[in-house]
Symmetry: C2
């Protein structure tokens, strides 16, 4: 476990988050620059296990809501973290002890590093997804029965909203409208927990995992990533088609990759809803949510986010196993293929398409 | 000033609110039934002047947001007032001392009587409009520079939202999205104030005014209303056309009245955006917001709300002077004809069309 994130390793960490982002969670470039600026100005961020906090310490899971396609044009003010913490502290009448990524994947694993740095708060070595997912209830806290309420939202203008939805469905609905009114993205915090609950309701050590993936990527490229994350190459080739639609606060689309070299003659298509959800070949599913499907640059191994995929890119598509919690019946109900309207049943990446 | 609202006078009060509603503020029928049930169960509601409260007592202006056309199909749960007060008390960490109508007009002047009854809270003899207006910043608190934030919203399902918008424009935008996610209407509280501020930032004695109008209406019909409220008959005739559109959370339209009797050959059309905003005849404005334009039943004198206007009704259209505060430059900027996209300048009802 890293004891802190600092300027030396933040970029590696961010590239690891991008791999775990499965195309989503927001592009890492702008959050990385914002985090670097905050680390330079305020010093390193301590990374801690929830066991290091008192049982009743308040932990706030945070992240960005909305369409990643908007994130690369509409930047954060940098003050959202403070506003979210202030709103939570007003509600609970006690201080926030640490921040945690709601989802470790993509920019959402990186954005909060700047908030931790500026607020002097530690970062919990865990998250609620172990990857990225498009909807707010697709997290381990939901599986564990933790209420999403109260939830807190802040936009880059300084508007702050606290919501107390009656259930996860209304949490998603209300949050999605706040995304819309804010212009496509908004910072949010939900499923606030005490540290005792964090220990059982999240996926541990995912900050460490992201950093390990980033280090392996820098050292050994795609081979390094697979050595740390598990899984396999699904195809290497060229992006020959990208269908793209930003609707209802989501980035949707289909990416088609035509194999080259040993994969010549193969065509793999990837269904996207913020994240890469299903990879299929000749109508056969070869990898499927909740397992991770990440498109990386065939040369550098760096993950390419949904909104940066474009025609002609030389890519490798990776399929990697998700955290065990997603492979339980409840996990598959929340984040399996049927939840997104695709045919099931889910087949683990270790067996799919073989 | 009435010392309390009870079952004997609540219907008269509600009919007075309907006259002040200028077609909007929501239909009074359902709120009246809900208020009657609450008064029967919990006893009368004390009506007090803000002077009767300690300077720092917390007063919560409340009302419904959204399209009145939806209010007559989607009912309140009755619990919204409690949820709004709880949210405000959590924010301010002190008890709500009294409720005030954000707008006295229509159902919004009546709805909160049931909340006062159930919560044992007094009702302030004042409001923020002296009538009804379609948007949240069209209130005297806004003129007085009182912040709309924090604002509180609750729907009939139990979803509760607290917002802290940066200004009145964002308050309106965020509230309008909460109206939409809630299905067209939502209960809200904004511009929370201490009692000292209420004394200078509201229109006093409007609960008394509504009751006086309702009593005069019962006694002397339209003549009684005009004797209390001032103003004059604009036309008496038949509704010959109603254009209606519910869009963006508003009820919009045009009502056309063809004169009968002494008004034969006259045609008056009324532009509506939740409220009746402009009355014109042969292209000439004969009454105009912020003055009050209310369509009443030609027989009984009872006000007809926007969503109940229909072809064939025999009606009298009344034009009545607004509160003085609306006739100031700031008042006209906020609620004059130009604000709604109509040609100005505003001409007082005492002179318009004569």
């Amino acid at each position: 476990m890293p004891v802190q994130l600092d300027l030396n390793i933040i970029a590696r960490y961010a590239h690891g988050c991008a791999v775990l982002g499965t195309g989503g969670g927001g592009d890492i470039r702008i959050p990385l620059m914002i985090a670097q600026a905050a680390l330079a100005e305020c010093g390193p961020v301590a990374v801690i296990r929830p066991e290091e906090l008192a049982d009743d310490a308040l932990v706030l899971p945070v992240g960005g809501w909305g369409a990643p396609t908007v994130c690369i044009e509409k930047f954060d003010s940098g003050d959202e973290g403070r506003l979210l913490c202030e709103a939570a502290e007003r509600w609970f009448q006690r201080p926030v002890a640490a921040l945690m990524a709601s989802e470790i994947g993509g920019g959402n694993g990186v954005q909060l590093v700047s908030w931790c740095a500026r607020l002097g708060l530690p970062l919990i070595d865990a998250d609620g997804m172990g990857r990225a997912f498009p909807e707010g209830d697709m997290c381990t806290m939901h599986i564990a029965g933790v209420s999403p309420a109260p939830a807190f939202f802040a936009d880059e203008r300084g508007n702050v909203m606290t919501t107390h939805p009656i259930d996860a469905l209304w949490h998603e609905r209300i949050a999605r409208h706040l995304v819309l009114v804010s212009g496509g993205v908004i910072a949010g915090a939900d499923h606030p927990m005490d540290a005792a609950t964090v220990r059982s309701a999240t996926i541990p050590d995912t900050v460490s995992l992201a950093l390990a993936i980033g280090e392996a990527l820098e050292r050994d490229g795609v081979d390094g990533v697979l050595a740390v994350a598990g899984g396999r190459r699904l195809v290497t080739g060229k992006v020959v088609d990208v269908e793209r639609l930003t609707s209802g606060g989501f980035a949707r689309g289909v990416v088609t990759v035509e194999g080259t070299g040993v994969d010549a003659e193969r065509v793999v298509s990837i269904q996207v809803q913020n994240e890469n959800l299903i990879a299929s070949e000749s109508g056969r599913t070869i990898a499927c949510t909740p397992d991770l499907i990440t498109i990386v640059d065939a040369g550098t191994g760096e993950a390419i986010s949904t909104e940066r995929i474009r025609y002609g890119q030389r890519v490798t598509v990776l399929g990697m196993p998700c955290a065990d919690v997603w492979r339980t019946p409840k996990g598959l109900e929340i984040a399996g293929p049927e939840r997104f309207g695709y045919d099931g049943p889910w087949v683990p990446i270790e067996e799919a398409g073989l």
